[in-house]
C-alpha cells in the first residue's frame, strides 16, 4: 500500500493521462465530458487503483512501469497479474470502439458503454491469462526440478 499523498498523486496523474488519451483517440472534446471522465475512472480503477494496494513504495511502482515500457526485467507473479490486467483492459477499451460506427441503433452503442464493457472484459481476460501463465511457468519449473 502506497502512502496516501503518493497514492493520490499517482491516481490523479493516471486519471489525467487516460482522459487525455481518450480525447486524443477521438472522444468528444467539449460534449460528453462526464462520459469521458467515467471511462477514465474505469481505466484508473482497473489499472492504477490495484497498483496502489500492490506496491509498497513509489520507486518499485515506477520501476515496474518503466520495465513495462522497455520490455525487460522480471516482475513478481503478483505484479505480472496487474500488468496483464491493465494492458488487456486498455486493449479491450480500444477494441470496443469498433461497434460505434455500426448503424444498429442499440442503446448500448452510446459512447462510453462499449469501451467500459470492453475495459472490464479485457481486464478479466488479462487476469485469466496472467494466472494461466504463472501456473504454466511454475509447472515447467517443477518438472525441471523433478527431472534433476
Amino acid at each position: 500500500m502506497l502512502s496516501l499523498p503518493v497514492a493520490a498523486r499517482f491516481v490523479t496523474l493516471s486519471w489525467a493521462v487516460f482522459y487525455i488519451l481518450a480525447v486524443l483517440f477521438g472522444a468528444p472534446f467539449f460534449s460528453d465530458i462526464i462520459a469521458t471522465a467515467v471511462l477514465a475512472t474505469a481505466l484508473t480503477a482497473v489499472s492504477a487503483l490495484p497498483a496502489v494496494f500492490l506496491f509498497d513504495s513509489e520507486e518499485r511502482a515506477v520501476e515496474v512501469i518503466l520495465q513495462l515500457f522497455s520490455c525487460e526485467g522480471n516482475p513478481t507473479p503478483k505484479e505480472s497479474v496487474l500488468l496483464f490486467n491493465s494492458v488487456f483492459a486498455f486493449l479491450g477499451a480500444w477494441a470496443a470502439a469498433a461497434v460505434h460506427p455500426l448503424d444498429w441503433d442499440r442503446w448500448w452503442q452510446r459512447y462510453p458503454l462499449p469501451s467500459l464493457v470492453g475495459c472490464f472484459i479485457g481486464a478479466v481476460i488479462g487476469i485469466f491469462i496472467a494466472i494461466t501463465r504463472i501456473f504454466v511457468i511454475k509447472r515447467t519449473a517443477y518438472n525441471k526440478t523433478k527431472k534433476r
Partner: protein
C-alpha cells in the same frame, strides 16, 4: 535497377487489372441504334405518321436543379425555418397560376445517376442511362447515337430551337434548326447564360416557326453548386426563373403547349431525384396525376403530341392527362406497341430471354398495357446494372497475383521480366478486344496468373519455413502495422464502416503511431536506472522529445473532424466552416475563415524558416559562404509577399467575386513562387524549396482548407521524422486515406471539388486538361505528398540506399493494392446491395483513383531517382562531410 523494373512492371499489371475490373463492374448499357419510322405503327386513320399532331408547338423549359420543394407554392401561414426561407415559396407567379388553375404541378422522378449528361440523354431518348456514363460527362464527343425526339423532329422536317446549355450541341450535332448555346462549364458564372437566352426565348416564341423550343436554364444549378440552397442569391435566382416562366406562359399562343421540367444533380438522395414538373396548355385544362411521373415519361408524350414517332429505345409511358380524354387509348396503344417492339428487339439482339415472358402475351386493355410497360421497364432497369463476371474475376485474380508476386520479392531475372510483360500484354488484349467471343485471351491470362500464383505460393512457403515465430516478434509494430491496414480494408465490407471511414482510418493511424512510440521507448538509449522517481519516468518517456512529437502528431490527426466534409449518411456530423462551400457562408464566417487561414500560413512560414532556414545557414557558415545565407534571408522576406498574395486571392475570389483579379493574383503567385523555389533549390535547401512550391497549392485548395493542408503537411513531416523505416510503409498506407478525408473530401460523387478546376483559369477556355488535372491533384494530394514522406525518410536515415527506398515503396504499394483489391471485392460482392451505387461504387472509384495516383507518383519518383540520383548522392556526401 532490378527493383525498379519490378515495381514498374507490376504497377502496369495492377493498373491494367484495375481497368479490367472496372470494365466488368461499371458496365455500360448496350445501345440499340435502330430508329423508329412513321410506318412502324398503325397510324390513326387519316394520318401519315403515328398520331395526329395535337399542338403546333411545344415549349420545353428545363431548369437545372430546381427541386420539387422549390417549385410548389406554400401557404402563407406555414412556418418556414430560416434555411428554408430562401428557397421555398419564392416563385410567386407560379403560385398565382396554380391557384387560377391554368397550370398543373406534379412530381417528376429522375433516375439516378442525376448528372446533366445522363438526364439529357434520358429526357430525349427515353432510356435509362447507366452509372458509367457519369464519367463521360466532360468528354466532348458524347454524341447520342440512339433514337431521340430531337432526331425524329429533324427527320420529319420540323424545326427545333435550342437555347442555353451547350452540352446539347455536343449531344445532337447539326440537328437543331436554330441554336443559342453557351458554355455551361463555368460554375462561377451565374447569370450570363440565363440573361442571354431569356430575351431570345421571348423573341423565338413570337416570331419563329419552330415546333419544339428547348430552353435550358442553368442559373439555379450553378447557384446551388456555388452557394447551396439556403442563400439570398438562391432566392434571387428563383424569383428570376419565376418571372421568365410567367412571361413565357403569357406570350404563349393558343396552340402552344408549355412544359417546365427540372432535373438535378449528382447522387440519388430523395431531394436530388425529386424534381417538379409544371404543365400549361391554352387548349384545355390539364390536371397532372398525384403519383410521381418518371422523367422519361416526357419523351413519348412530347413525341405523340407533336405527331412524331416515339423514339425506338424509349421506355417511358405516355402521360395520358396531357391528351384529351378520347385519345388516351390510342396514345397508350402506340406507346405499348413501341415499347414491345423495343423489348423484342433487345431480347433478340442481346440474348435477353426474360423479356419474352412479358411481351409474348398481348395486352388489349389500357390498364393491361400500362402494367406490361411498367414491368418491362423494371426488368430492364435491373438488368442495366448487369455485371460482367468474367471481367470482374479476371481483374481481381490479376490483382491478387500482383500482390503475391510483390510479397515474394523474387530477384528480377530476365525470365520474370518476360513473364510479367507477357502478363501485361494479355491484360491489355483483354481490355482492348471487347469481342473476345471464345474467351481465348481470358483463358490464357487466367492460366498465366495461376502459374505465377503457384510459383509465388511455393516461394512464400519456402520463406515462411525459415522464419522463426515468437510472440514477441509477432507483437512488434512491424507486424501489427500491416495487420491494421488489412483490418481497415476488411472493414470496408460493411457500409457503416465505409460511411465512417474517416474515423476508422484516424483511429488506426493513431493506434499505429502509439505503437511506434512504445516501440521507440523500448529501443532508446536511456535505460531505466535508479533512483526510480516520477521525474525520471517523464524524462524517460520524453527523451529525444519523443513525447512532444507524439502528442503533436496525435493532435494533428485529431483535428481531422474540423475539416471533415460530412456525407449525408453520417449521423450527428457537422461540416464546419473550412470545408463548406464558400458561397454558403455569411460574410462574417468568411472573414473568420480567411483570418484562420492567414494565421496558419503565418505560423507555417515562421516555423519553416526557423527550423529549416537556420539549419542550412549553419552548414553554409561552416563552408564560409555568407552570400547564400543572405539568399535564404531574402527568400524569407519574399515569402510574406506570397502570403499576402494568397490572402488577396481569397479576398478577390470569395469576398468580392472579382474573377479577373483573382486569376491575375494566382498567375503572378505561381510565377514568383516558382522563381523562389528554384533559388532555394540552388541553395540546396530542399525544405524551403518545397515550402515555396506549396504556395500555389494553397491557392488551389482555397482559404477554407489552407489550415487543413498545413496541418496535414506538418503531420506528414513529423511522421517522416518520428516513424522509423520499418514501420513507414503501413503508416503511409493509412496516412494516404486519412489525408483524403483531412483535406475535406469524402467518397461521394457530388463532393468532387469542382471549384479547384477554375482556380486561375478564366472560364470558357478550350483547354480542359488543366482543370481536370487540378481536380485530380486536389483529390489526391495525400497520395502525391506521401512520396515525399518516403523520400525524406530515406534521406534522413543514416544508411541511405536506393534498394531500401525501393523496398519501402514496394511495401506501401503492396498495402495500397491490398486495399484496392478488397474494395474491388467488396463492390463485386455487394453488387446487388441496396447501397451499391450510393456507397460502395463511389468508394471503389475514389479508392482506385487514389491507388492509381499513388502508383504513378511512386514510379515517377523511382525513375527520377534512378536518373538524377547520382546528383543526390553527391550532394548528400558533401553535407555529410561538412557535419
Amino acid at each position: 535497377m532490378g527493383s525498379i523494373i519490378r515495381i514498374l512492371l507490376v504497377s502496369i499489371n495492377i493498373l491494367l487489372a484495375l481497368f479490367i475490373f472496372q470494365n466488368g463492374f461499371l458496365l455500360k448499357r448496350q445501345e440499340i441504334l435502330s430508329k423508329s419510322s412513321c410506318s412502324d405503327a398503325h397510324a390513326q386513320p387519316g394520318q401519315t405518321c403515328w398520331m395526329k399532331q395535337q399542338y403546333q408547338r411545344v415549349i420545353l423549359i428545363l431548369v437545372d436543379a430546381l427541386r420539387y420543394d422549390f417549385l410548389i407554392p406554400i401557404d402563407e401561414n406555414t412556418k418556414k425555418s430560416k434555411e428554408e426561407w430562401y428557397y421555398r415559396g419564392q416563385m410567386k407567379n407560379i403560385e398565382k397560376l396554380v391557384k387560377s388553375g391554368n397550370v398543373s404541378i406534379g412530381t417528376l422522378l429522375a433516375d439516378p445517376p442525376t448528372t446533366t449528361l445522363q438526364r439529357l440523354k434520358a429526357l430525349t431518348t427515353g432510356t435509362l442511362p447507366t452509372f458509367i456514363d457519369a464519367g463521360d460527362n466532360f468528354s466532348p464527343d458524347a454524341v447520342i447515337s440512339e433514337d431521340s425526339f430531337v432526331y425524329q423532329a429533324a427527320q420529319l422536317g420540323k424545326n427545333v430551337t435550342l437555347l442555353g446549355d451547350d452540352t446539347w450541341l455536343s449531344l445532337f450535332p447539326n440537328q437543331f434548326s436554330k441554336t443559342a448555346a453557351y458554355d455551361s462549364f463555368d460554375i462561377n458564372d451565374l447569370n450570363t447564360v440565363d440573361d442571354k437566352i431569356a430575351p431570345i426565348l421571348q423573341d423565338e416564341m413570337l416570331n419563329s416557326n419552330s415546333s419544339i423550343i428547348i430552353a435550358h436554364f442553368l442559373g439555379v444549378d450553378h447557384c446551388g453548386h456555388k452557394f447551396g440552397p439556403s442563400h439570398p442569391v438562391m432566392a434571387d435566382t428563383l424569383r428570376k426563373m419565376d418571372r421568365i416562366i410567367g412571361q413565357t406562359i403569357e406570350t404563349m399562343k393558343s396552340d402552344d403547349h408549355g412544359m417546365t421540367s427540372t432535373g438535378d444533380h449528382g447522387g440519388e438522395s430523395e431531394n436530388e431525384i425529386r424534381a417538379g414538373i409544371l404543365v400549361h396548355s391554352k387548349k384545355h385544362q390539364i390536371i397532372l396525376p398525384e403519383r410521381p411521373i418518371h422523367q422519361i415519361d416526357i419523351v413519348p408524350t412530347i413525341s405523340l403530341l407533336m405527331g412524331l414517332p416515339i423514339p425506338f429505345s424509349n421506355l417511358g409511358t405516355v402521360i395520358t392527362q396531357l391528351f384529351t380524354r378520347d385519345l388516351w387509348e390510342i396514345a397508350v396503344g402506340m406507346n405499348y406497341e413501341q415499347v414491345k417492339r423495343f423489348a423484342e428487339t433487345y431480347a433478340a439482339q442481346k440474348n435477353f430471354g426474360e423479356l419474352h415472358s412479358h411481351t409474348i402475351r398481348d395486352s388489349n386493355t389500357m390498364e393491361e398495357q400500362l402494367d406490361t410497360m411498367s414491368r418491362i421497364q423494371t426488368l430492364l432497369r435491373v438488368s442495366w446494372t448487369q455485371f460482367d463476371d468474367a471481367y470482374i474475376n479476371a481483374g481481381i485474380f490479376s490483382l491478387v497475383e500482383a500482390i503475391m508476386f510483390l510479397i515474394t520479392n523474387e530477384v528480377m531475372s530476365l525470365e520474370w521480366i518476360i513473364y510479367r510483360t507477357g502478363c501485361g500484354l494479355l491484360q491489355a488484349a483483354l481490355l482492348t478486344d471487347k469481342t473476345d467471343s471464345d474467351g481465348s485471351a481470358r483463358t490464357l491470362l487466367l492460366m498465366t496468373l495461376a502459374v505465377s500464383c503457384l510459383s509465388s505460393i511455393i516461394s512464400m512457403c519456402h520463406k515462411a519455413l525459415q522464419i522463426r515465430i515468437s510472440i514477441k516478434s509477432m507483437l512488434s509494430a512491424k507486424v501489427i502495422g500491416p495487420i491494421l491496414v488489412i483490418i481497415h480494408s476488411i472493414s470496408l465490407f460493411s457500409n457503416s464502416y465505409v460511411v465512417y471511414e474517416a474515423q476508422v482510418v484516424r483511429y488506426f493511424l493513431q493506434s499505429l503511431v502509439t505503437l511506434v512510440f512504445l516501440e521507440k521507448l523500448r529501443s532508446t538509449a536511456l535505460r531505466p536506472r535508479k533512483p526510480f522517481k516520477l521525474n525520471f519516468l517523464w524524462k524517460f518517456v520524453n527523451q529525444d522529445q519523443n513525447l512532444i512529437i507524439f502528442t503533436l502528431i496525435m493532435v494533428g490527426l485529431r483535428s481531422e473532424p474540423i475539416f471533415h466534409r460530412c456525407r449525408e449518411e453520417e449521423v450527428g456530423c457537422d461540416t464546419y466552416y473550412p470545408s463548406r462551400q464558400a458561397g454558403s457562408l455569411t460574410r462574417d464566417a468568411q472573414v473568420v475563415r480567411l483570418l484562420f487561414a492567414l494565421g496558419s500560413l503565418a505560423v507555417a512560414n515562421l516555423s519553416v524558416f526557423k527550423y529549416y532556414g537556420l539549419r542550412d545557414t549553419k552548414s553554409q557558415i561552416e563552408s564560409n559562404s555568407k552570400r547564400s545565407s543572405e539568399t535564404i534571408r531574402i527568400l524569407s522576406a519574399t515569402s510574406w509577399l506570397h502570403i499576402a498574395i494568397i490572402v488577396l486571392h481569397s479576398v478577390f475570389a470569395s469576398l468580392t467575386h472579382d474573377v479577373s483579379r483573382a486569376n491575375l493574383s494566382a498567375h503572378s503567385l505561381s510565377v514568383i513562387s516558382l522563381i523562389c523555389a528554384v533559388l532555394a533549390w540552388r541553395e540546396g535547401n530542399s525544405a524551403i524549396c518545397a515550402h515555396f512550391l506549396l504556395m500555389p497549392v494553397y491557392i488551389l485548395f482555397g482559404d477554407g482548407l489552407i489550415p487543413a493542408i498545413i496541418i496535414f503537411i506538418a503531420v506528414s513531416v513529423l511522421i517522416a521524422e518520428f516513424v522509423s523505416r520499418e514501420f513507414i510503409a503501413s503508416t503511409i498506407a493509412l496516412l494516404i486515406p486519412l489525408g483524403f478525408y483531412h483535406l475535406g473530401h469524402s467518397p461521394v460523387i457530388s463532393s468532387i471539388p469542382w471549384n479547384a478546376a477554375f482556380v486561375g483559369i478564366p472560364g470558357g477556355t478550350a483547354l480542359r486538361v488543366l482543370p481536370a488535372l487540378f481536380v485530380l491533384f486536389h483529390l489526391n494530394f495525400s497520395a502525391i505528398s506521401s512520396i515525399f514522406v518516403i523520400s525524406s525518410e530515406s534521406e534522413s536515415s543514416q544508411k541511405m540506399s536506393a534498394p531500401n527506398t525501393a523496398w519501402t515503396l514496394t511495401e506501401t504499394l503492396v498495402l495500397m493494392t491490398i486495399r484496392a483489391t478488397l474494395t474491388c471485392l467488396v463492390s463485386s460482392i455487394h453488387r446487388r446491395h441496396l447501397m451499391v451505387w450510393k456507397i460502395f461504387a463511389p468508394k471503389f472509384i475514389f479508392e482506385c483513383i487514389l491507388t492509381i495516383v499513388f502508383i504513378f507518383s511512386a514510379n515517377f519518383f523511382l525513375i527520377y531517382r534512378q536518373f538524377f540520383g547520382e546528383k543526390f548522392k553527391n550532394s548528400e556526401a558533401k553535407i555529410n562531410k561538412l557535419h
